[in-house]
Symmetry: C2
Subunit: 413 residues, 2 copies
C-alpha cells in the first residue's frame, strides 16, 4: 500500500478539476494546494512558524541544492528534511533532474535554460561543447554551480539522495527538456525519461523495502510526465507512466500558463484519475493556479512568490506592484486591503517601501509573507469554489481584476 492516500471529494462537472486530500505520514494536504518552495531546506526568509501561520500546507525542497549544501547525509543525520528544518507537516523533494540541466551547466556561465535546440539534438556529445550537463542513457554528468565540481546523477543516485533526505513524496528522475527542443530531440529524451522512470521506481521500491525492514516510514514516488508541446508524446508518456505503479504524477516541462489548457489537459485526460497530479515549478501567476486546477492539477510548487517578494514585486488583487516605487512613500494603506496576512494586517506600503529602500532584511520577510499568503489564499478560495460550484464565477472575477479584462480574456476562453 502506498504511504500516501489520495481521496477525491468533489469534481467539477465537465472539467478535469477536482478537490480532495492527500494523506501522508505527516498529515493531510487539502487539494488543490500550493506546495511552498523550500529549496535548501528553508522557505527563503521565513521561519517554519511563519510558513505555518500563512497557511502553508507542505514544503518542497530541491535534491540538487541539498546534495551540494549541506549534503543529503547531513540532512539524514539531522533526522530528515522535516526534522532538520523543523517543519512537521508534509514534505516533497524533486529529483534534481531539472536543476542538473538548468543550474548544472550554469557554473561561470549564467543560467541558460534554452540551449537544447533541434540543431544539436541528434548528437548528444555536442551539448558538452557548451559546458552543458552531459546526458547519456545512464544519467547526467554536470558541474556544481557553486564550485564547478564534476558530479553525476542517475535515477538510482537521485532515489538514494531523496531517501536520505527523507521527504514524504519523491519525484522520479527525468530529463528536463528546453521549451525550444524539437520533436527529434524530444523523442530520444522521452524514451530516456521513461527508462529512467522504471529505474527510479525499481530503486525506490528497493529502498522502501529497506525502510520496512528497519521499521522506518516509507516514502511515496511520483512519476514525471514529459513530452514538450507534442500531443502524441504527452499522451504516450501519461499512458505509459500511468500503467506503472507510481503513487502520483508530476507534469514537467510546462513553462507558460498558456500551455496549460492543452499540454496539461492531454496529460490529465490520459493519467489514471485516482492518483494525485503535481504541476512542477508553476504557481507564481494566478492564471497558473486557475488553469492548472481546471485542467486536473492537484498540487503546485514555485519559488517565484518569494523570489519576486525579495525583489519588491508584490501581488495584489488588482495586479502586481513594485513596492520600491517612489509613489508608495506616503501610502499608508496595506499592500492589499483585502489580504489577511501578517504584513497587511500590521504594516503599510510606506513602511515596506522604506524597508526596501533602506535594504532591511525585514522588507524581504514581510514581502515574502505577503506573496506566499496571497498564493496560498488564492488556491484555498479555488478549493472552496470547487466545493460550492462557484469556480468559474470566481475565476472570471479574479482574473479580470488581476490582469485587467483585456489580458484576462486569454485565460477565460
Amino acid at each position: 500500500m502506498s504511504s500516501v492516500q489520495f481521496t477525491i471529494t468533489h469534481k467539477l462537472d465537465g472539467t478535469l478539476a477536482r478537490a480532495g486530500k492527500i494523506a501522508t505520514p505527516h498529515g493531510s494536504i487539502q487539494t488543490p494546494a500550493f506546495i511552498v518552495g523550500g529549496t535548501k531546506a528553508t522557505v527563503k526568509a521565513l521561519t517554519p512558524q511563519q510558513v505555518d501561520e500563512l497557511g502553508g500546507q507542505a514544503v518542497l525542497a530541491n535534491t540538487y541544492h541539498l546534495m551540494l549544501q549541506p549534503g543529503a547525509a547531513v540532512v539524514h543525520e539531522g533526522g530528515g528534511l522535516g526534522a532538520y528544518m523543523h517543519w512537521s507537516k508534509p514534505t516533497f523533494t524533486d529529483s534534481g533532474g531539472f536543476q542538473v540541466f538548468s543550474l548544472g551547466m550554469a557554473y561561470k556561465k549564467g543560467i541558460d535554460a534554452t540551449s537544447h535546440s533541434e540543431k544539436g539534438s541528434g548528437d548528444l556529445a555536442t551539448h558538452s561543447t557548451h559546458q552543458l550537463a552531459k546526458v547519456t542513457d545512464d544519467g547526467v554528468t554536470f558541474r556544481s554551480h557553486l564550485d564547478g565540481t564534476k558530479l553525476t546523477m542517475t535515477p538510482e543516485s537521485s532515489m538514494e539522495l531523496q531517501h536520505a533526505i527523507g521527504a514524504d513524496i519523491h519525484m522520479a528522475f527525468d530529463e528536463a527538456t528546453s521549451p525550444l527542443a524539437g520533436r527529434q530531440y524530444l523523442r530520444q529524451s522521452l524514451d530516456r525519461t521513461h527508462l529512467w522512470a522504471e529505474r527510479s521506481l525499481k530503486q525506490h521500491n528497493k529502498l522502501n523495502e529497506q525502510h520496512r525492514e528497519h521499521d522506518e516510514p516509507e516514502q511515496a514516488l511520483f512519476g514525471i510526465v514529459q513530452g514538450g508541446r507534442e500531443e502524441d508524446y504527452r499522451r504516450e508518456s501519461a499512458q505509459l507512466l500511468g500503467h506503472m505503479d507510481f503513487d502520483g504524477y508530476g507534469v514537467g516541462g510546462v513553462y507558460e500558463p498558456g500551455e496549460i489548457s492543452h499540454v496539461v489537459r492531454w496529460v490529465n485526460e490520459t493519467l489514471p484519475e485516482h492518483k494525485p497530479r503535481h504541476l512542477l515549478g508553476m504557481g507564481a501567476q494566478p492564471a497558473d493556479l486557475f488553469l492548472g486546477v481546471e485542467f486536473g492539477i492537484d498540487t503546485f510548487d514555485c519559488v517565484a512568490p518569494t523570489r519576486q517578494a525579495r525583489n519588491g514585486a508584490l501581488y495584489t488583487y488588482s495586479g502586481r506592484i513594485n513596492i520600491k516605487n517612489a509613489r508608495f512613500v506616503h501610502d499608508f494603506t496595506p499592500i492589499d486591503t483585502n489580504c489577511d496576512c501578517y504584513t497587511c494586517q500590521h504594516f503599510t506600503r510606506s513602511y515596506v517601501h522604506h524597508l526596501f529602500k533602506a535594504d532591511e532584511i525585514l522588507g524581504a520577510v514581510l514581502a515574502s509573507i505577503h506573496n506566499e499568503r496571497f498564493i496560498v489564499s488564492t488556491i484555498d478560495h479555488i478549493r472552496e469554489s470547487l466545493m460550492d460550484g462557484s469556480f468559474y464565477a470566481y475565476k472570471q472575477t479574479f482574473l479580470n481584476q488581476y490582469y485587467g479584462a483585456a489580458h484576462a480574456k486569454t485565460y477565460l476562453s
Copy 2:
C-alpha cells in the same frame, strides 16, 4: 508631571544597583532592562512579533538614520515610530548626536570614530579638513553617509525631529567625543553639551506644550552626561544636568566594560537617585550588563547583538561561537542547550551553520532571535537576582562561565 514615572522597588545594599520600573504611555519597562536596537524603525531581521516573543520590552531607534530614511515627517505621518513599525510597547530615540559625529563624517571615508585628538582640539576648524562633522556652538554640520548631502543638526532641530518621530523617551542633543579626546577638547565639548542640554530641554518643553494644546501625548527627555574619563568633568556634568528638569539621564561616551566601574560610578553617585539612567550604546557583552547594573544603570541599548548575529557570532553561556565554523556541520545540538529561544528550541547548530553557508536570510533571522534573547534573558536574570539578593553569586557564576576564570577576574574585582 513627567510622561514617564520611575519607581525603584529593590536596592542592593552597598552598591548603586536597583530594580524597578519605568511607566510610559505605552506600558511599563521592568528595569534593569535591555532596550532592543531598532535603528531604522526595524529591529534588524526580526518582525515585531518575534521581538515581543523573545521578551523585548522596548525599542530604541536612531534619529539620524530616520531623518535620512524615510524622513521624520514620513514616520510622523505614519502615526509615529511605534505605529509605523507596529511596535505597541515603549520606544526610545537617541538624539542623532552620536551618529552625526561617527557616521556623518564617514561618507566615502569609512567610519573613523577616533579622530578627535588633542592635536586638533584647540582649533575646531581643523576638523573639517578631515571631512569631519563641523562643530560650532550652534550645532553640527555634517554629510549624509548615504549620499553626501550637507546637513545641519542643532539641539532645536534634534528635538523637532524626535517629536515628529514621536518615541516615548527622547535624548538631549550632545556632542559625542572620541575615546582619544584630551582634557582641553573635552572641556570645550562639555560646556557645549551643557549649553545644548539647556536648549534641548527648552525646545522639548515648547513642543510638549504644543502637544498638550492639541491633546496629543507628551514625550519624555533624558539629559546626556558626558566628560570622557575625567572624574571631575563627569561629576560636574552629572551635577549640572541633575539639577535640570530632565525625566531621566543617559550616560554617553563609555566605550569599554572596563570603564564602567569608575566612569559610570562617578556619574551615578552624583545623579539624582530617583530618575532612570540609560547607558548609551552598550550591552553586547555580558560584562556590560553586570557592571552597568552594579554601578547604577537601569537601561541599556546596543545593536551589536543583531550585528554579530548576522556575522554568525552567537552567544552561548560558555562564550561566543562562530557558527560558520566547519566543526558545526555535524553538531545536532542547539546553539545553547540552556537557551529557551525559538531558535534553540527548534533548530540545531548544524542547520544554522547550513543556513549561513548557503547565505540564507533565515540564518540571520534565527541568529538574531538567539542573540537578542540571550541578552534579554541575561538582564532578566540580573533583575531577579537583585530582587532575591543573589546578584553577586549570579554575576560570578555567569562571568566565570562566559569568559573563563582568568578573563572574568577583570570584571569580578
